[in-house]
């Protein structure tokens, strides 16, 4: 089951890995606009060149960057075909029953698929080069303005970072419980829907009990060590953005501005 996780942090010694997570998150938002704003050949060219350059900077393998794409091939083909065959009934290239293959439809299908591919690779880049803890800390800093509306940003960041750190442990436990239940005769593979539904309860009940027990133990441990709410937490050191981070932000802003003119 662990193998089906995509976009997990991959340790490398690259410029992107060393970049401050706050700057990386802001750059990601700017580049997301660049990817989604692509409509003409030139704008797609700019988006693709930018993405290839960032991928090269990350030193990540091709398989790590495209791991999500390989699982979504069928989805992408279906999206393309739906657009190509149903988007327009005018200027048909080929017609059969309810299906109308049109030039407009093919272009629309390619647009949608290209946007999805660009965004998926970009999000993979972010999660593969940033640890979950760095990401949630960055999110906490960037969401700070929301405090004006009395939104407990620190608490949200704490919840997200704990959730992320729990995922591998719970996955392992779920796998162990599933195997134990199969050994006890649970029939998950049964085609009978009622039998299948009945076999789930012995699976989810221990998973939830395990997870809640872990939350209980962690809360006890945190309170015993004097944790008095996320809002009162202090940081060991306040790290300012480096020149290289500011430069990256400047470059991404320029690319984003250029994309609006293309």
């Amino acid at each position: 089951m662990n193998r089906s996780m995509t976009g997990q942090y991959v340790q490398k010694d690259s410029v992107l890995h060393k970049m401050d997570a706050r700057a990386k998150l802001l750059c990601f938002i700017l580049l997301l606009v660049v990817m989604l704003k692509a409509k003409t050949v030139f704008s797609y060219g700019l988006a693709a060149v930018t993405l290839v350059a960032v991928c090269a900077l990350s030193k990540l393998s091709f398989s790590a960057l495209t791991s999500t794409l390989s699982r979504m091939t069928t989805f992408l083909i279906v999206i393309f075909l739906m657009n190509a065959l149903f988007f327009s009934t005018q200027e048909a290239i080929w017609k059969w029953g309810i299906f109308t293959l049109s030039r407009e439809g093919i272009v629309q299908g390619l647009h949608v698929v290209a946007h999805v591919v660009l965004v998926l690779v970009l999000s993979n880049l972010l999660t593969c080069t940033t640890t979950p803890i760095e990401l949630t800390t960055a999110l906490e800093v960037l969401l700070k303005p929301l405090k004006v509306f009395r939104i407990p940003v620190e608490m949200i960041a704490l919840v997200l970072s704990v959730a992320l750190s729990f995922i591998p442990t719970l996955l392992q436990e779920a796998d162990t419980i599933r195997k134990a239940q199969i050994a006890r005769g649970a029939r998950f593979e049964s085609r009978n829907l009622i039998e299948k539904a009945r076999s789930f309860l012995p699976l989810i009940l221990p998973i939830f009990l395990c997870a809640f027990r872990r939350a209980d133990e962690l809360s006890l441990a945190m309170e015993a060590r004097g944790y008095r709410g996320a809002a009162k937490r202090t940081k060991k050191a306040k790290i300012p953005l480096k020149k290289s981070d500011l430069l990256a932000l400047g470059i991404c802003s320029c690319i984003c501005a250029v994309q609006f003119f293309l």
């Binding site: 704490l158 009990l209 027990r213």
Partner: protein, 181 residues
């Protein structure tokens, strides 16, 4: 145990978010289980019932988002309506638990769940019809996709969530709603 501290509620919300990622992965190894039984709905509902409306809302929003980012499920196209649906589940389940008091905790849970599931489906359908698939989403599509196709899932949720709530109370992992005198 009389009342849970805010830290404990936050940590339970965190494990429920983690379960939103883990459960669909555990279920997807079983043929057709993910699409028919919607396992991600269970932690969102339970989080609302146990931790209250705001943590339920957070779990409903963050759970599908993290799952989509880490596992590719749900797919990007289904993600926004699913986030709306689960967020409303968590929020309404938590709100209902504050107002419904029948003196029987399982009855409270079932009533809160039914209302949450109904409101969640109505809001998600409205969001799809007005925002995510404006002009393409019809009443018939709403009934078939949110009710008819989901019948096995709805039944399983109505059985599993109260059973989980009861088991958690019995194991003293959450406080009893009506402590024995």
């Amino acid at each position: 145990m009389t009342k849970m501290s805010i830290l404990k509620r936050a940590l339970i919300c965190a494990v429920c978010i983690a379960l939103c990622v883990v459960l669909p992965m555990a279920f997807h190894s079983i043929p057709d289980a993910g699409s028919i039984l919607s396992p991600m709905h269970i932690p969102a509902l339970l989080c609302g019932l146990v931790c209250g409306p705001w943590f339920g809302l957070l779990c409903g929003l963050a759970g599908p988002l993290l799952s989509s980012q880490l596992t590719g499920m749900p797919m990007m196209a289904y993600l926004p309506p699913m986030m709306v649906e689960l967020a409303v589940y968590g929020l309404v389940a938590g709100l209902m638990m504050q107002f419904v008091r029948t003196k029987k905790s399982l009855a409270d849970v079932v009533i809160s769940m039914i209302v949450a599931m109904l409101v969640g489906r109505i809001v998600a359908g409205a969001a799809k019809a007005l925002i995510f698939a404006a002009g393409e989403f019809t009443m018939a599509m709403w009934i078939s996709s949110y009710f008819v196709a989901m019948i096995p899932g709805i039944i399983m949720h109505l059985v599993a969530v109260p059973a989980l709530y009861y088991a958690l109370e019995k194991a003293h992992l959450i406080p009893r709603r009506y402590p024995k005198a």
